[in-house]
């Protein structure tokens, strides 16, 4: 190492790390991935991870989202201890079992779908949200089972169901078990449709693969968060297949709205009010006995 390198390397290294992760040291400050503004983290969290300057929607934890949606003090987590097994004894560079344990540690969740019962402005509601931090929000048997039970609970209680998708798709490590969760969850949604129980799907960044191709697109109402990536195939796979550059804004919420795939785009800060208003109109008035 010569004298120039000695001087340059540490600084270049620090800059590189910052540019790559978009992070500012200290932990109290967060750099906005949209406009680059340095934001005070507690304030960003109070704002549901939406940048107060440019309205960029950062990822938000599933649990935080559900607690922010439901009436304070009304929430009860459903099936909190459900965990994945490893039916295929799957192993790539890592054992699936170890991946699960590592994800549980880093995310604090048991698996990628969190379900809660509670009230939304007084009306009973079953709500589910994907935790993207848990193996990419992938849906395996646990996600499928929790969603199916959530739907069945909504059916039994005649309360509405809301799901926030944030997922790369189905969990590969559970093989065909995962794929069949698409059929299972859709079957429950078919029963809800027949019974007239409302289901609203909120698609957040990102919602791709099997999650988008089952419960994600089956809402009576489909809502996108601003600029969320939503699609079946991921953009990289499409680029490799068609061998052309994808158009600007391709597979973003605004693109889906224009092509008729979603009903509306709603800012996260207005989500609670919007969902309450919509459900007010959809939920049938109790019939006179």
């Amino acid at each position: 190492m010569n004298w120039l390198q000695k001087i340059m390397t540490p600084r270049a290294h620090t800059q590189g790390a910052n540019a790559g992760k978009g992070k500012v040291p200290e932990g109290v400050w967060e750099k906005c991935a949209g406009c680059g503004s340095v934001l005070y983290k507690p304030e960003l969290e109070r704002n549901l991870m939406v940048c107060p300057k440019c309205s960029h929607h950062h990822g938000i934890r599933a649990r935080t989202r559900l607690l922010a949606l439901l009436d304070e003090g009304s929430t009860q987590e459903l099936w909190p201890s459900m965990e994945a097994t490893d039916p295929l004894k799957f192993r790539d560079s890592k054992k699936y079992r170890d991946r699960i344990v590592a994800s549980q540690k880093s995310s604090g969740e048991k698996d990628a779908l969190v379900a809660m019962g509670g009230r939304l402005k007084g009306r009973p509601l079953v709500a589910t949200a994907f935790e993207f931090g848990f193996v990419g929000g992938s849906m395996g048997s646990v996600g499928g089972e929790k969603f199916a039970r959530a739907g069945e609970r909504a059916l039994a209680e005649k309360s509405a169901l809301v799901c926030f998708a944030a997922s790369g798709g189905m969990r590969m490590q559970e093989g065909l078990f995962s794929l069949m969760q698409m059929a299972k969850t859709s079957a429950v949604l078919a029963r809800m449709r027949d019974a007239g129980v409302p289901y609203i799907s909120v698609l957040t960044n990102p919602s791709t693969g099997g999650v988008s191709a089952s419960m994600g697109m089956l809402g009576d109402i489909n809502i996108g968060e601003p600029k969320a990536l939503i699609g079946f195939a991921g953009p990289r796979v499409i680029e490799q297949t068609v061998r052309e550059t994808l158009p600007e804004g391709f597979q973003r919420s605004e693109f889906l709205l224009e092509h008729g795939a979603i009903d509306m785009i709603v800012d996260r800060r207005e989500m609670r009010d919007k969902l309450a208003d919509l459900l007010n109109l959809l939920e049938k008035a109790p019939r006179a006995a």
Binding site: T85, V142, F177
Partner: protein, 318 residues
């Protein structure tokens, strides 16, 4: 190397070529070589048996997309006394990657829907290598809803690498088209029997794969992702597809053991392509049996059974 034979089938190709050669020579000369041909035939049978006794999951994956493997229309041709193909989704286009129509099997009217691949370049383009776009799934749904109205059972034949990942497909709602079929098939008031005849590639396969029975031909595969795709993501190299195929548990006997499918239909010695006709006749027999079972159920009981069947899928603890 004969391109119509997979690498592990080459000894079969060589023996067959030898037999052909001998028979050819015997036409010209008066030599009696029947004995030699008979000996070679016996050897061919033993060799084939030997090769196919223990195929690895990766070899099965190659079998499932064998260039000579029979496709949906090949099976329809043998199974049906008559078949009338119906085209179009009534919204946008007719997708060649999915075919469907009204047919008659053993005198019984049925609706058949299946993925369609092709063997020549022109056909492959027309069929888009068996990878459907949303209009394919919407055509399938239109035909299935028609079957429901007229009380016809639905038979689906699954053979796709996956739904097509293209710009237009995304613009027209690939996710929605697949999701819609899953929901509608769970609820369709007529029997549905699904059979994987080749590749069962993820959501693109499942979109015509929800029903009352799931069969797989012996050397077909059914998986959440292709071995290549899985290897690229988890091993960061498509070269590791062999390992991915092992890990994914995508073969018919394994999936039967895991309780994810209902029946494995045995293939002729050396695979379906060695005797497509006998394969089609076997498939027809299985389908007819299952139709008899399902037809005996009142529709409400059928739907309840279907729901419970779908509802049971999964492996978890709490």
């Amino acid at each position: 190397m004969n391109p119509n034979f997979l690498e592990f089938e080459q000894p079969i190709a060589e023996l067959e070529a030898k037999i052909e050669e001998l028979r050819h020579t015997s036409h010209g000369q008066a030599l009696n070589i029947d004995e030699e041909v008979g000996r070679l035939r016996e050897k061919l049978k033993l060799k084939t048996n030997d090769i196919f006794r223990n195929l690895s999951p990766w070899q099965v994956a190659q079998m499932s997309r064998h260039p000579a493997r029979p496709y949906t229309l090949d099976y329809i041709g043998v199974m049906c006394e008559e078949f009338h193909e119906l085209a179009g989704d009534r919204m946008y286009a007719d997708d060649g990657a999915i075919v469907g129509g009204l047919g008659r099997i053993n005198g019984r009217p049925v609706m058949i829907v299946g993925h369609q691949k092709a063997r020549d370049t022109k056909g492959k383009l027309r069929r888009n290598f068996g990878m459907p776009r949303p209009e394919g799934y919407r055509k399938a749904l239109r035909l299935m809803k028609m079957a429901e109205r007229f009380g016809l059972p639905v038979l689906t034949l699954i053979d796709t690498m996956g739904a097509y990942p293209g710009i237009g497909a995304e613009e027209r709602g690939q996710s929605e088209a697949i999701a819609r079929n899953l929901l509608e098939m769970a609820d369709l008031r007529t029997p549905i029997i699904c059979t994987v005849i080749g590749e069962g590639g993820s959501g693109g396969a499942l979109a015509i794969g929800v029903g009352d029975r799931t069969n797989m031909l012996q050397y077909s595969t059914y998986s959440v992702i292709t071995p290549e795709g899985c290897a690229t993501i988890l091993w960061r190299s498509a070269e590791r597809a062999k390992d991915a195929a092992e890990a994914l548990g995508l073969t018919a006997p394994r999936l039967l053991e895991l309780g994810l499918i209902d029946k494995v239909i045995r293939e002729p010695l050396g695979g379906a392509h060695r005797n497509p006709r006998s394969m089609a006749i076997r498939l027809k027999a299985v389908l007819m049996n299952q139709l008899d079972e399902l037809a005996a159920l009142p529709v409400d009981a059928l739907l309840e059974q279907r729901y419970q069947r779908l509802r049971r899928y999964g492996a978890f603890q709490e």
